[in-house]
Amino acid sequence: MVDLNPKMLEDIPVTSYSDNSTVLIKTGAWKYVQPSYDDKLPACSHQCPAGNDISKALDLLARGEIAAAARLWRAGNPFPASLGRVCPHPCEDQCNRKELGGAIAIHMMERFLGDRSLEPGFLPEPKPATGKKVAVIGGGPAGVAAAYNLALAGHEVEVFDDKPAAGGYLRTGIPDYRLPKDVLDRELALVEKTGVRFSVNTRVGRDVDFDELRARFDAVIVTVGFHGSRPLGVPGEEHEDVYNGVHLLERILAGERPTLPKRMAVVGGGNTAMDVARSLLRIGVEPIVVYRRSRMEMPAIPTEVDEAIAEGIRFELLTAPSRVVIGNGKITALECRKMRLGEPDESGRRRPIPVEGSEFAIPVGGVVTAIGETAELDFLPEETRDGWRIAADDRFATPAEGVFAAGDAAFGEGTVTAAVGEGRRVAMVVDAFLAGQELPAAAPPTQAAWERPVNIDQTVHVEQLNPAYFTAVPRPEISELDPATRRTSFDEVVRGFDEEEAIREARRCMVCGTCNECCNCLFFCPDVAIHKRSGAFGFDIDGDHCKGCGICVEECPRDALSLVEVKS
């Protein structure tokens, strides 16, 4: 103890110290800025069309809290197991780990968490029933995502689909070697558990009238997608061995093994072309991909192209069909012209220009067209159509009261992931509509639906991270069936992560923009003004003693704190 009444110099300690508390000294009065816990969007989630809360889920996974992570991922996304397999994962292109050992294998994390949550126990608790009814036309990813979220919001939802089973393009357009159908079936079964009713084999406009749906339901969401196919526009394409790629793929995926010519040209460079070519290969046909631009302009997911090349599929690039050559009633060849690339067109890709006199024949017995799809919208009233698209605005609303739209037929984004995101967003809009609220000027971003508060106006890029805390750790190898084996089977090509691999990879995640209770703020606070909440996530800042020095903000490895001005 300090002697408070020293009589001699010896009674005074060698240097000043105080065993009294300094809590009395309210250093907080000095501040003109103060720190605030401020989760921001990590670059990955910013890029995620489906709106997955990647950083939070990976943090949970890194701690071994697999169930909590899986539950979070499935909270607004009914298809993590499917998307983990088919999404082109733009998140990984933006991952801040890119230069620090390689992007986190986020799609593998999604697949792992999706596979770990295929039981009803992982579904969110639905809100109390509202008594409102919603019809969803089209059981593809957009429609199911909308239905799932609206059912969880307490509404009664019925999905109408003209196919024998829901799933849309996930079922009819994606081969089993990418997405085994039992995974899709189990995810759809979970959606059914939330109360969504699926009316399959029901085509609106044929089996049920659109106006009748509008009368029976409080809101209608149109999510019919693209299922028609564009014509090639060359002589000879009416021959019976010229197939529509979407329809042919649908038949093969449904288990049909039609009798086909031994060698077929697959015209197109998108995902449908890749899926058709790789599926033909697996049923014993030799496909030749014919694409009018170069590899760089191909709209297909690059890894799908890589895998097709690895499987030995031949590509004729900078080549466009000019005529289907028929002899004795049979196709003998596809006559093509070589192309060269000119100036970029409105899509930003370089325009193909035919090279005069470059005609040559590719000997084939059949042709498959996969050059783009269109929607079939005849059932919709005129006012809700805009050419070959649904006339939907930024709020996902059509000019018809109570009719909303999402997915490819509305916005043409062209990926399952974007469709799921649009489904989540239209659900928020319709939920507000059903509650009688005024609609926002634009549908809120998917992240607005997250349970945890996050500052969606700010994205954390690598520049916002504190480099002192991160070192390069290499990305793991992702193992695939070897090309020779997979050419002859529809077995899944990519092997998923086991628990140990998934947790190890999650630990590589820098959890950008997201507080993970690393406690650096608490350790560095010179005023002992940061306190860990007991029994709850996060920290409290003691405003009486925080003097606004900003060290906690500076030392936060992941930019999950911000300094804000104190208004006097």
């Binding site: 020293p6 005074i12 060698v14 240097t15 000043s16 110290y17 105080s18 065993d19």
Partner: protein, 397 residues
């Protein structure tokens, strides 16, 4: 064990023998090889210490302050701008009574940018409460670093051990490096009377009101007074153990000297050659080398210089607007002498920014004073002036 090492290597070996627990340092020419040597020794397990790499000298000393407050023996080293950057916490270390040992390689302050020797950096820290020892050889560096820990830990004041840039820091010498057992017997482990204690939380360096502040400062000054005796005693004890005794100052051919040269650090070695030559020529010249500058041995210096005819003081520094700092200090020590015992005192400002101080320079100063050709109280030695140069300005290299 005899080794051929540089002054900087001598520091590193002495630090190894003193067994510090925390070393916190930032590199700066010409100090760098000190901490490189220590870092290697820590990496090789020759020193069982935590080596903290920091981003600045301020943090380097702050790291030592924190560790020493918790009761750990610490070390840091720096030079010139680095020492200046430490200044705020230099005061703190002394006021907190932490017996930290710091090696400072004397280097001129910028601008103009210079890496060569000059005493202005360490003398600018004169009034902070740190003890200062100026060394003349690598052997003295080894011996002084070890002694510095012992004295500092006895009186609870930090010490700067100071060596000239390059002339000492980078010059190889034959050095006797003591065995660890010898040093362990001489220097017991640190046991601070007041340190951080998890069982008894306290705020260190807290607010002190005017009714108490002076008492803490009085204690610092008393500690320096005690330290004069401790340096003397520890220097003697070291001599008994190693055969190399040290005092607060060193006297050379001083018994009957009438003309006395006062200097510090490596210039003293050069000066000895000149003193010997002058003695051969019949001039009663002697050398007084300053070693411990803080605490300042006023009484001892007064006694030594009383009754001498002439005193020439070399300053490798200048307090602008007054004169050399050693000159001021010695004059103030002589003030109490009676008029008849006061020597005639001349200050020489020499060798700034590493300029050579050659035997002929020292001879010129001493004989100039002895023969009455130099009469001014202060001379800037061998510097361009209005008469010796066309412009009067010092040319840039």
């Amino acid at each position: 064990m005899r080794m051929v090492i540089k002054g900087n290597g001598a520091v590193a070996h002495a630090v190894r023998l003193a067994r510090p627990q925390v070393i916190s340092a930032y590199p700066i020419t010409p100090q760098t090889s000190i901490i490189e040597g220590i870092a290697s020794m820590v990496a090789e397990g020759k020193i069982d210490a935590k080596f903290i790499k920091v981003e600045s000298e301020h943090s380097a000393l702050a790291g030592c302050i924190a560790a020493e407050s918790a009761g750990a023996r610490t070390f840091t080293a720096t030079s010139a701008q680095g020492l200046a950057l430490m200044h705020e916490v230099i005061h703190w270390a002394a006021g907190a009574r932490l017996p930290i040992v710091l090696a400072n390689v004397n280097r001129a302050m910028a601008p103009g940018w210079s890496i060569w020797t000059d005493q202005t950096d360490s003398l600018s820290q004169r009034d902070t409460g740190w003890m200062q020892v100026y060394c003349q050889s690598a052997q003295e560096v080894v011996d002084s670093v070890i002694q510095a820990y012992k004295v500092s830990e006895k009186v609870l004041m930090p010490t700067m051990v100071i060596l000239d840039a390059f002339f000492l820091s980078h010059t190889y010498e034959d050095v006797e490096v003591p065995e660890p057992e010898l040093v362990d017997g001489f220097l017991p482990p640190l046991d601070l009377p007041q340190k951080m204690d998890l069982e008894h939380p306290a705020a260190l360096g807290n607010l002190v009101f005017p009714d108490r502040y002076m008492e803490f400062r009085r204690k610092m000054d008393l500690a320096h007074q005690v330290a004069l005796g401790v340096w003397d005693e520890v220097g003697r004890e070291w001599g008994e153990l190693t055969g190399r005794p040290y005092g607060l100052v060193e006297q050379y051919r001083m018994d009957d000297a009438e003309l006395v040269l006062v200097t510090a650090a490596t210039t003293a070695s050069t000066a000895r050659v000149v003193i010997d030559a002058l003695r051969d020529e019949g001039v009663a010249a002697g050398l007084l080398r300053l070693r411990v500058f803080r605490p300042f041995p006023s009484g001892l210096i007064r006694t030594i210089l009383a009754g001498r005819k002439q005193v020439v003081i070399l300053d490798r520094n200048c307090s602008f607007g007054h004169h050399g700092i050693f000159h001021q200090e010695i004059k103030s020590a002589l003030y109490e002498l009676s008029a008849g015992r006061q020597p005639e005192v001349h200050g020489m400002i020499v060798g700034l920014g590493g300029r050579d101080v050659k035997p002929e320079d020292i001879r010129g100063m001493l004989m100039g004073v002895w023969e009455g050709r130099i009469t001014e109280p202060v001379t800037w030695w061998n510097v361009l002036d209005a008469e010796s140069a066309e412009t009067g300005a010092v040319a840039m290299g």
